[in-house]
């Protein structure tokens, strides 16, 4: 795996994370009360944010769980999609990262 194993992700104000979802629709809507941001998320993005919201987690462990959850083969494309999503969320101030050697 090439996920950055020494980064730990945590939710910035987890009590600010709100969700709207409907059974017959695949996407989720996410609202962050701190930033005021509303995002339409695909299932991968929603899974990542929800997982991190429930506990701080290393990127490596998060990638392993994601692979299992969606029952997908591990490949570069998926790992880089995860990494890009996480950094986008960080840029928006929704997640905080810290190096944990």
């Amino acid at each position: 795996m090439t996920a950055e194993s020494n980064i730990t992700w945590k939710a910035n104000f987890p009590d600010s994370f709100l969700w709207a979802e409907w059974e017959d629709e695949e996407a989720s809507v996410f609202f962050h009360r701190g930033s005021g941001e509303t995002l339409l998320l695909n299932p991968l993005g929603a899974y990542l944010l929800k997982t991190i919201c429930s506990e701080d987690i290393s990127e490596e462990k998060l990638a392993q769980r994601t692979v299992r959850y969606f029952d997908l083969p591990v490949d570069e494309e998926l790992l880089s999609a995860i990494s890009v999503s996480l950094h986008t969320f960080e840029q928006k101030g929704l997640l905080l990262s810290s190096a944990s050697q």
């Binding site: 910035n12 104000f13 701190g34 101030g93």
Partner: protein
């Protein structure tokens, strides 16, 4: 014609609102909005619910104003978390000042207070690194012309304001609480050494209670932005009520004023909190502070100017002398900040650049005089 200032009357005695007519509510809300105290008025009235039945439309405006404050305060806590993340590796103390500090410290004045910028104080030795780090995290200078950059860097107590490129938040990074050129020289090192650590955020601090008040007073009485003067005075009153429950606080307040050389602002602060908002000051403290007061003649002049200028910035409270008082105090604050040889060119530059921007409004009465003088 000057009407009576309903706002200060109501802040002092919220129960009086119980028998206000629709026209009085109308005037009260207009004054409160102009003074940036609408949400604060809502807080006060809510604390005395039994006596006051608030008309429906009035209640909607008060509730709306409080919702904005609530939203602002949530956003501020979030913004500070990002600031902390940006500066984390530097491991320097970040002392949050003014509005944002009231929010983080959960002080009672934060429920009803709107503000624009986040102000922080950092050790001067860390300033370069802090600025570079903030740049990397998306903060950019808003004052890009060479004059402003030079002015701030040579003479001021802060960097030119920074704005975040995505979030648009404005951040003022201070290394002192008064300009380098000012008459008073409170040592920022003493403020930082005495600061209170935020239990929830590493590296984040706010000023100790006494210093917080002294800073607020210094800002109001040596800064000259009097449009929000009444709001700032209300801050002081609430903080004095909140902290001033025991004798120890009042003793520390005068001790710190002495140590930081901020006796004069303390004198003014206590005097006008008492005169305008009718908040009694313990006799011992008032006596100590009176030694820092101005002479008789200057004192009379300052009373005239401040009692005018601390009215709500609404037409019902403002006469020509209010505008003149604000203008004179604005000039005075610059005079206090820098030697005269710097002041005159700066004021001229500001007047030329900012005219029409609404930043310094030359009062209408004065403008007439100036226009007439031009013709002559």
């Amino acid at each position: 014609m000057k009407e009576r200032c309903l706002l200060t009357d109501t802040l002092f005695d919220p129960a009086a609102a119980g028998h206000y007519s629709a026209a009085e509510w109308d005037l009260l809300l207009r004054q409160a909005r102009a003074a940036n105290l609408l949400a604060q008025l809502g807080v006060r009235l809510a604390q005395h619910p039994a006596q006051t039945e608030i008309p429906h439309s009035v209640a909607q405006h008060l509730r709306s104003a409080r919702l904005i404050v609530k939203r602002q305060n949530r956003a501020i806590r979030w913004e500070v978390s990002l600031l902390q993340q940006a500066l984390y590796d530097l491991a320097v103390p970040i002392v949050v000042l003014k509005g944002a500090a009231y929010v983080l410290a959960g002080l009672p004045n934060s429920d009803g207070r709107l503000f624009h910028d986040i102000d922080i104080l950092v050790p001067r030795s860390a300033l370069k690194e802090v600025e570079a780090r903030l740049r990397r995290w998306g903060w950019r200078s808003t004052h890009n012309n060479a004059y402003d950059q030079r002015y701030y860097r040579r003479w001021m107590h802060e960097l030119p304001p920074l704005q975040h490129i995505q979030r648009q938040t404005v951040l003022d990074v201070h290394h002192s609480i008064l300009p380098l050129t000012a008459r008073l020289h409170p040592d920022p090192g003493k403020l930082i050494a005495n600061a209170v650590a935020d239990p929830a955020n590493e590296d984040i601090y706010w000023l100790a209670p006494e210093d917080m008040l002294l800073h607020s007073m210094t800002h109001l009485f040596h800064d000259g932005e009097l449009e929000n003067g009444l709001r700032d005075l209300v801050d002081m009153e609430i903080l004095l009520n909140h902290f001033g429950t025991g004798k120890a606080f009042w003793a520390r307040l005068t001790e710190r004023a002495e140590l930081l050389e901020l006796g004069r602002p303390l004198y003014y602060g206590l005097r006008y909190v008492e005169r305008v908002l009718q908040r009694a000051i313990p006799a011992e403290t008032a006596e100590t502070a009176s030694a820092w007061g101005p002479g008789w003649l200057l004192g009379r002049l300052m009373d005239f100017l401040f009692l005018e200028a601390l009215q709500p910035a609404h037409t019902s409270c403002n006469t020509l002398s209010t505008s003149i008082a604000r203008w004179m105090l604005y000039v005075r604050s610059h005079y206090l900040r820098m030697p005269l040889r710097l002041l005159i060119p700066h004021l001229v530059h500001k007047a030329v650049v900012k005219e029409g921007n609404g930043e310094i409004e030359i009062p209408k009465g004065l403008r007439k005089i100036i226009a007439d003088a031009d013709k002559g």
